[in-house]
C-alpha cells in the first residue's frame, strides 16, 4: 500500500499513530468497562475533552499541510473549521424536530423566535445526514477553492495572503453574527439532541464520537503523509522555498497551491464537524481571527512541516489551556502570548525539532549558532 510506504522513515508519525491507536482502544475501555469509583476510570467528561483535542489536532494537521509544506500561513483556517461545524450543526438542529422549546416540527427554535415562516433555502437537505456530511467538506472546500483561485492566480503571497485570509474569517464572523443570515446569529446553533438517532448525551455516543475522531485523525494523518511524500509534496516544498523557480521548471504553482489549500480546508471542515457534536454548540465566535492565529501557534509549537508535530502541539497547548483556565484563568493569555514569542524566537522548529536542535547545540558548543533557515517566508515587500 502506498499509504504504508509513505510512513517509512517517519518515526514520529509511527509513534503518534501507535499512541493514537492505544488511546482509541484504552479510553473507551476505561470509560465503559471500569466502574466509576475505580481510580483507572476515565470520566465521560474527559472522553469528550480528549475528543475535542483530537478534532483540534485534525485542524492543526490541516494547517501544517499548507503552512509547513506549502508556506501558506493561513490565518483563516478557523473559518473552514467553523463552516464544517455549522454544516454539522445544521444537521443536528434539524434532528431536534419537535423537541425544541417551541415545538415547531420543521423550524429550529431560533427561527420561530425570529418569526421565520418557512425554512430558508439553504437549510433544505440538512435533515439528511449524507447531505450534511457532504456539505461538511464541500462548503469549506468550495470557499477555499474560490478564495484560493482568486488569490493564487494573482500571486498574492506571504503576509498579504495571511492578512486577507484573516480578513476572510473576520468578514465571515461579522456575517454570522447577523440574525438575518439565518444561522442563529449571536447564539449560534445549540441544544442538540441526537445524531443519527443516538442520544448525544449518552456515554456510548460520546465514546463513539471520540473513537471516530481518533480514526479520522489517523486517516487524515496517513492521507497528508501520502501527499507530502509524493512528488506533489516535493513540489509543494519547492514552492515554499523558491516559488518562482518552480514556475520556471513548468509546474502550475497556482494549481498546486489551490489543490492543497482546498484539501486542507476540507480537513478543517471535517474537524469542525466532529467538534460540534462533542462540545454541543457552534457560534460565530469560532470565526474569530484570534482562534485562527492561535491554531497556527499550535503548529509552530509542535513543529511545522512534520505533521505529527502539529498533532502534539494542538493537544499540548489545549491541555495547557484547560489546565490554566482552571487554575490561573488570569494567566492564560500571558502564557499563550509568551508561547508565541518564545517559540518563534527559540524554537523555530518546535517540539518536534527540539531533539535535533539540542544535538546541534551540543555538537557546536562554543560556536555561535547559525541562523536557522527561514523556510516559510516570501520575499519581503
Amino acid at each position: 500500500m502506498g499509504l504504508l510506504r509513505s510512513m517509512k522513515g517517519d518515526t514520529g508519525g509511527l509513534v503518534l499513530l501507535a499512541v493514537l491507536a492505544l488511546v482509541a482502544i484504552l479510553v473507551p475501555v476505561l470509560n465503559l468497562a471500569v466502574p466509576a469509583d475505580n481510580p483507572w476510570h476515565v470520566s465521560t467528561f474527559t472522553v469528550t475533552l480528549l475528543g475535542k483535542y483530537l478534532t483540534y489536532a485534525l485542524l492543526a494537521l490541516a494547517v501544517d499541510l499548507v503552512w509547513g509544506y506549502l508556506g501558506i500561513l493561513s490565518l483563516g483556517h478557523g473559518a473552514f473549521f467553523a463552516l464544517g461545524g455549522y454544516a454539522m450543526g445544521m444537521y443536528l438542529m434539524r434532528q431536534i424536530g419537535e423537541r425544541g422549546v417551541y415545538g415547531h416540527p420543521v423550524l429550529p427554535d431560533f427561527m420561530v423566535f425570529l418569526n421565520y415562516t418557512e425554512l430558508p433555502w439553504f437549510w433544505h437537505g440538512f435533515d439528511q445526514f449524507w447531505f450534511a456530511a457532504l456539505m461538511v467538506v464541500l462548503v469549506p472546500g468550495l470557499l477555499a477553492f474560490v478564495f484560493g483561485w482568486l488569490a493564487f492566480r494573482s500571486r498574492v503571497t506571504g503576509v498579504y495572503l495571511s492578512i486577507i485570509t484573516q480578513a476572510l474569517t473576520y468578514a465571515l464572523m461579522l456575517a454570522f453574527f447577523r440574525n438575518e443570515m439565518g444561522f442563529g446569529g449571536n447564539n449560534g446553533l445549540t441544544d442538540f439532541k441526537d445524531i443519527l438517532g443516538f442520544d448525544l448525551t449518552a456515554r456510548t455516543t460520546r465514546v463513539a464520537l471520540f473513537v471516530i475522531s481518533a480514526l479520522m485523525l489517523a486517516m487524515a494523518y496517513l492521507a497528508c503523509r501520502a501527499i507530502v511524500t509524493s512528488r506533489l509534496g516535493r513540489v509543494a516544498v519547492a514552492i515554499r522555498d523558491a516559488e518562482p523557480r518552480v514556475r520556471f521548471i513548468g509546474y502550475r504553482v497556482d494549481r498546486v497551491k489551490l489543490a492543497l489549500f482546498t484539501f486542507s480546508a476540507m480537513l478543517a471542515g471535517i474537524a469542525g464537524a466532529l467538534y460540534v457534536p462533542q462540545v454541543g454548540i457552534i457560534n460565530p465566535g469560532e470565526f474569530a481571527p484570534l482562534n485562527s492565529i492561535e491554531l497556527v501557534i499550535w503548529v509552530a509549537i509542535g513543529g511545522r512541516a512534520t505533521l505529527y508535530g502539529a498533532v502534539i502541539g494542538a493537544v499540548l497547548v489545549n491541555y495547557g489551556k484547560t489546565w490554566f483556565t482552571g487554575v490561573f484563568p488570569e494567566a492564560w493569555l500571558f502564557a499563550l502570548g509568551g508561547l508565541f514569542v518564545l517559540v518563534t524566537l527559540l524554537l523555530p522548529k518546535g517540539i518536534a525539532g527540539l531533539a535535533g536542535q539540542m544535538r546541534n547545540l551540543r555538537r557546536r558548543r562554543g560556536e555561535p549558532t547559525a541562523p536557522l533557515p527561514d523556510t516559510a517566508t516570501e520575499a519581503t515587500p
Binding site: 509524493s230 512528488r231 489543490a259
Partner: protein, 319 residues
Amino acid sequence: MTERSGWARFQEVIRRDRQFGLVTEEKSLALLADERSERASLMRQSWRQFRESMRRDRQFDFMVAWKDLELDVSHGPILYVEDLNVSFDGFRAINHLNFYVDAGELRCVIGPNGAGKTTMMDIITGKTRPDSGSVFFGQKIDLLRLSEPEIAAIGIGRKFQKPTVFEQHTVFENLELAMAGDKRVFPTLFARLRVAQRDRIDEVLCIIGLGEQVRRPAGALSHGQKQWLEIGMLLMQDPHLLLVDEPVAGMTHQEMDRTAELLLSLAGRHSVVVVEHDMDFVRSIARRVTVLHQGSVLAEGSMDEVQNDPRVIEVYLGG
C-alpha cells in the same frame, strides 16, 4: 485490437528476456509497469484529443491552438524578439530590441551592467511583461500570451544568475522535480519514478558530476555545485531553448572548461543562449556574440568582429 496485441507482445518479450536471464525479475516488473502507464497515458491523451475535436463550437480555434503549440522552426530562427520595449518607472530597460536565435545555435550575449540582458530573459520566460513588442518561439508560438509554466512546458529552460535550487531537497529530488513530464497536479500526486527516468537522472548526475552528492540536500552544496545542479535541472527539462545566465560565476577554471564543453555539446540538438561576463569563457564557446547596450543590440557577429567594433570598445572601455 492492435493496442492489446501490442501489449501482449510486449509482455511476451519481457517474459522471454527474463527466462533467458537478460533482465532481473525486479527490472522486468518495472519495465512492464512503465509500459502499462505509458500506454494508459497515450490512451488518455488520444481520448482527450478526440473529445476536443468533437467540440463543434471550437473546431476552428482548436485547430489553430493545436498548431500553435507545435514548435515550427522551418524558417530557421527558434526565437524571434522584435521591437521590444519595457521600462521601469521611466527607466527604459529594453529599448526597441530586435534579437533572433537560430535553431541549434549557441549564442552568447554580453553587455555592461544594466544593458537589459536579464530583463530580456525575464520577458522571454514570462516573468516580466513588456510594454510593447513581440516575442515568438518558432513561427507560431506567441510567448507573450503564455505564463511561466506554460513557457517552460513548451521547451524553454532557464538557469538563473543567482543559482536557485531547492535547498531542502536532495540533489536527486531536485533533478526529479525538474524532469520533463506531465506536471499537472494529479499526475504529479500519483507520479512514480519509472526506470527510464531513473536512468536519465543517473545519466545527468554523471554529466554534472554530483553522483557522490546525490542524497545530500542541495542547500549543503557549494556555490559551484549549485551552478552545476541547476544546469543539471535544465538538462532534465530537456528544453528546445536554454537560457543560461552567468553559468560559470564562482567556478574554477577546470569547472569552467567542463561547462564550456557541456554547452558546446548541447548546441545543435538544443538552442542555447548564454549571458556571461567572463570574456575568456565567452571566447571559448562563442560562435556568434550579441552585444547589448542600454536595452538594444549594439553589435552582433563573431567574437573577433565584436571585439574590434569601435562602438563596443567605447562602451566597455570609454563609457
